[in-house]
């Protein structure tokens, strides 16, 4: 049996590897599996990715970031599910949709990731000092059938690691 000439060293290395894997995949890189079509074609249903939980330790979410958002407003609770959405609105801004495109303070935004047709018209919403606006890349369905809207900074778990087809 090939355990090496120094089994003690091998076992120590194995233990370190196991502990490091647990720490990394529990506290740093959260493995996720995408379910649903709301982020098509950027992320496909069934795709595997990671959420980088340290992405915003030093900075703040930026417009265009794809992030994982808790379902529950309770920032300390355990979770098995996340929403995967793109940040389109930053704190203090007024967000609306006109002809399928997001408008920030009334100004339509360039959205190179928007590959599928959309005709959304959604009235303005003003974001609070800790609020962000999130929406998926697939806006082919009516807005009331797509999970989009405002959540606070504390609900953001992290930023998706592997960029999709943008």
């Amino acid at each position: 049996m090939a355990i090496g000439r120094r089994p003690k060293r091998t076992l120590v290395r194995l233990a370190v590897l196991i502990v490091a894997s647990i720490v990394i995949f529990k506290f740093v890189l959260l493995p996720i599996r995408v379910t649903g079509i709301s982020m098509e074609p950027t992320f496909h249903d069934g795709a595997v990715n990671f959420i980088n939980r340290l992405a915003y330790v030093r900075g703040q979410p930026l417009r265009g970031d794809v992030v994982g958002i808790r379902f529950s407003p309770d920032a300390n609770g355990a979770f098995h599910f996340l929403l995967l959405k793109r940040v389109v609105g930053l704190p203090g801004e007024t967000i609306s949709f006109v002809g399928g495109h997001v408008c920030v303070n009334g100004t339509p935004q360039e959205e190179p990731y928007l590959k599928l047709p959309s005709y959304w018209n959604v009235p303005e919403k003003t974001l609070g000092p800790e609020d962000y606006y999130f929406v998926g890349d697939n806006r082919t369905m009516p807005p009331n059938l797509h999970e989009h809207g405002i959540a606070s900074r504390s609900q953001i778990v992290g930023r998706v690691l592997l960029k999709g087809k943008e």
Partner: protein, 165 residues
């Protein structure tokens, strides 16, 4: 060695004692969590279930609900559904079973907060449901409000919590 064995036995006894205390004297949080897990199990059904089982499950569900329970939930497809009392809700559940045929309901990430008066409590959880032959799971966040009525924690309100407002 004998000392180590004794210490291990002592630790084991302590662990058993803690477990027994939790089993025979559960906290309100534990009681409510158990009720919610039971509710999810009773709410699930299969087309193979007989009528007697369906009626029995519905009767058991009614024992978990307050008479004047209020329900405001979003169903798949964006429809909001409201019920004002237990009988209305149970009638809807019985009517839904022949139509839906199969339903699997699971509650996860249950967080229970009991008020200081220990008479009211709120539970936030994520519900995962598979309806009929649909391959995808429906995932929603739900808030349950409980009231302690004669040492019985009954559900007085159930509502969908939208993660994005």
């Amino acid at each position: 060695m004998k000392l180590i064995v004794r210490l291990i036995l002592l630790a084991g006894l302590l662990a058993l004692g803690v477990w027994a205390w939790g089993f025979f004297f559960p906290t309100p949080q534990k009681i409510i969590e158990k009720r919610l897990v039971k509710l999810a199990r009773l709410a699930s059904f299969s087309s193979k279930d007989g009528n007697i089982k369906r009626l029995a499950d519905t009767e058991r569900i009614s024992l978990l609900l307050a008479r004047n329970i209020q329900v405001v939930v979003d169903l798949p497809g964006g429809r909001e559904t409201m019920f004002d009392n237990r009988e209305e809700l149970l009638q809807a559940l019985l009517a839904a079973r022949p139509v839906v045929k199969d339903l699997v309901v699971q509650f996860t990430d249950i967080g229970v907060v009991v008020n200081q008066d220990r008479q009211n409590a709120t539970a936030l959880l994520t519900v995962k449901a598979k309806i009929g032959v649909e391959p995808d799971w429906v995932v929603e966040e739900l808030r349950f409000t409980f009231k302690n009525t004669n040492d019985d924690w009954l559900i007085t309100r159930l509502e969908t919590v939208k993660p994005l407002r």
